[in-house]
């Protein structure tokens, strides 16, 4: 996505949020509040992340409760994507990146010497901003992960594929053309295929980096419904530029600004009575 379109999308999201701000709050409030999570799936403690001389995150403390959707919101460049990508150590792919502090998954540090990053990324899956299906068949896309991890049994692979595609609400649309190229699917279908592909390696956490920013409104609606369904099983972290989207799908919301978490709480609390003036400024379109 070019910066230009990105700023435009943001501007649209902002203007909408300004106009619909009470509506967003209403949406968040109308959803039955989910019971407090029994335990925290991921805990981030005093996290600092640097890219070369630049610091992207400052002293981030945040928890991600099990089977809930946490939305990370904030203006461009605030560090929400960096935070997301630190959770499965994808930030390490950037040359000269380093971190201080700790991230614990189920109580164990993800940076520990005994941790296999391959293992971590299998458990903490990721969906990207733009659909990125591999140039191969739909079936091969979904079974790509399990096959590379060593599953050979064809029947089992087929079963995993069907289950994953069903979970991603795509099965009915593609079951008759599993052997066709994934590149022939629409953008929304491709994104759900990428979700199915991520689910196929049986993750526990799913990280989503603006998963609907490249999609039309109908596809966006489908993916949002899917996010709610997935929260029944998985722990989800969602980066989004759309406040209405955060209102529709998030249990909790964290507002980031300039690499710091300004405020974090239930979606209802954040949208109806933000404690920090900067959060309120952002929600009402005065900041960003």
């Amino acid at each position: 996505m070019t910066t230009e379109t990105k700023t435009r999308t943001e501007a649209v999201a902002r203007s909408r949020s300004y106009a619909d701000e009470p509506a967003v709050a209403a949406i968040a409030a109308a959803r039955a509040p989910r019971p407090e999570a029994e335990r925290q799936k991921i805990r981030v403690d005093g996290l600092n992340v640097f890219f070369g001389p630049q610091q992207a995150l400052y002293d981030v403390d945040i928890s991600f409760p099990e089977q809930q959707v946490v939305a990370l919101i904030g203006p461009s460049g605030c560090g929400k994507t960096t935070l997301l990508r630190t959770l499965n150590r994808m930030t390490e792919l950037v040359p000269r990146s380093r971190h201080e502090g700790d991230v614990r998954l189920d109580g164990a540090s993800i940076f520990g010497p005994e941790v296999d990053v391959v293992d971590l990324r299998r458990k903490v899956g990721m969906v990207f901003q733009r659909p990125n299906p591999f140039p191969m068949s739909i079936l091969d896309n979904v079974t790509f992960g399990p096959r590379r991890h060593g599953v050979r049994n064809r029947a089992l692979l087929g079963e995993i594929a069907e289950q994953s595609l069903r979970s991603a609400a795509l099965w009915d649309e593609v079951k008759d053309k599993l052997n066709q190229s994934a590149l022939g699917l629409s953008g929304g279908q491709q994104q759900r295929l990428c979700i199915a592909r991520a689910l196929a390696v049986q993750p526990e956490v799913l990280l989503m980096d603006e998963p609907t920013s490249a999609l039309d409104p109908i596809s966006t609606g489908k993916v949002e419904d899917l996010v709610r369904q997935l929260a029944e099983t998985y722990t989800l972290v969602l980066v989004t530029h759309s406040l209405p989207q955060a209102g529709r799908v998030a249990d909790r919301v964290a507002f980031l600004l300039s690499g710091r978490v300004v405020e974090e709480g239930t979606a209802q609390a954040i949208f109806t009575r933000p404690k920090d003036a900067r959060t309120e400024d952002y929600l009402t379109g005065r900041l960003g």
């Binding site: 499965n88 994808m90 792919l93 040359p95 391959v118 293992d119 971590l120 990324r121 299998r122 458990k123 899956g125 990721m126 990207f128 733009r130 990125n132 299906p133 591999f134 140039p135 191969m136 790509f144 992960g145 590379r148 991890h149 990428c194 592909r197 991520a198 390696v201």
Partner: protein
């Protein structure tokens, strides 16, 4: 903005518009003259560049076709006459040998540069690879002579010739492989890594299949380059009137470029015919390889 400011801005705009418009009219003729001059120079340059090319192709084709006969393919060279069987087979084994060495080496180096190397290490390797492109081929030939032919005592041989050719082909393969891999969208690579797939498997299952046409193109172009080289072979494979013996050392090998290079200087029409026939065969070989490579590239862009 006050009314006064607005009026002032409008006045300035008008003045600037007049000035730029007037200047544009003044220089119109000069501009168009300069345009014609550039066009003329470009046309002359193109003709100057095209003429030798067309001339070479026409000359080689006309003389080559005239010299073509079946016995070229069935008999070996004797003295400065006879056939080209030894040279054709020799060129094939030398180029194949060079590719067997340079292909895997170059592709793996390219993979390393694109996927693994630290930026600084990559920059150094890339620089060395570029230097290798710039080394005159006769120097590579002499290197082969000094190291393999006399140094290791292999004599004029297939191994020495193939290694010298491989040295010449290597940087092209490294560069095209690296380029093809860096063109693979980062999103695909990240998509695979995020599934918990190792880097090696990501390269094998995602990056390489996507980059394959580009890599193959590079290999074919390197084949074409190897096919047309003389200098790396003169001091390493030397020349032989006999079909190549498939032994690595102590057995010189003949090849087509040698025929072109040497026989055209002989005062016999029979040797001239051989030279033109060899040149035509080389031309066809290089042309076919380039066409196939181009086809691969076009096919990739159509995806």
């Amino acid at each position: 903005m006050t009314t006064h400011e607005a009026a002032e801005a409008a006045r300035l705009r008008l003045r600037h518009a007049e000035a730029v418009g007037a200047a544009s009219v003044r220089t119109r003729r000069a501009r168009s003259a300069r345009g014609y001059l550039v066009l003329g120079l470009a046309t002359v340059a193109i003709l100057a560049a095209l003429f030798p090319l067309v001339d070479i192709i026409a000359l080689v084709t006309v003389h080559g076709i005239a010299a073509m006969k079946l016995s070229l393919f069935t008999t070996v060279t004797s003295g400065v006459a006879g056939g080209l069987q030894n040279a054709i087979l020799g060129t094939l084994v030398l180029v194949a040998g060079g590719m067997i060495i340079a292909g895997p080496l170059g592709v793996f180096t390219g993979i390393y540069l694109a996927e693994w190397a630290e930026p600084r290490v990559a920059a150094v390797l890339r620089y060395l690879s570029d230097v290798l492109v710039g080394v005159p081929s006769i120097v590579i030939g002499y290197f082969g002579f000094a190291v393999f032919v006399t140094g290791l005592g292999w004599g004029f041989s297939l191994a020495a010739g193939a290694i010298a050719l491989a040295t010449f082909m290597l940087p092209y393969i490294v560069r095209t492989t690296e380029l093809a891999l860096t063109k693979v969208p980062g999103e695909l690579r990240e998509g695979s890594l995020a599934l918990g797939i190792t880097r090696g498997r990501t390269i094998h299952s995602v990056s390489l299949p996507v980059a394959a046409p580009g890599i193959l193109t590079g290999l074919l172009l390197a084949l074409g380059i190897g096919l047309g080289e003389t200098a790396p072979l003169i001091y390493t494979a030397s020349w032989s009137n006999y079909d190549p013996h498939l032994v690595p050392t102590h057995s010189p090998v003949g090849y087509l470029t040698y025929v072109v290079w040497t026989f055209i200087n002989q005062p016999f029409s029979a040797s001239h015919e051989l030279a033109y026939a060899a040149a035509l065969l080389l031309l066809i070989g290089v042309l076919v390889l380039n066409l196939v490579a181009r086809q691969l590239l076009v096919g990739r862009q159509a995806d």
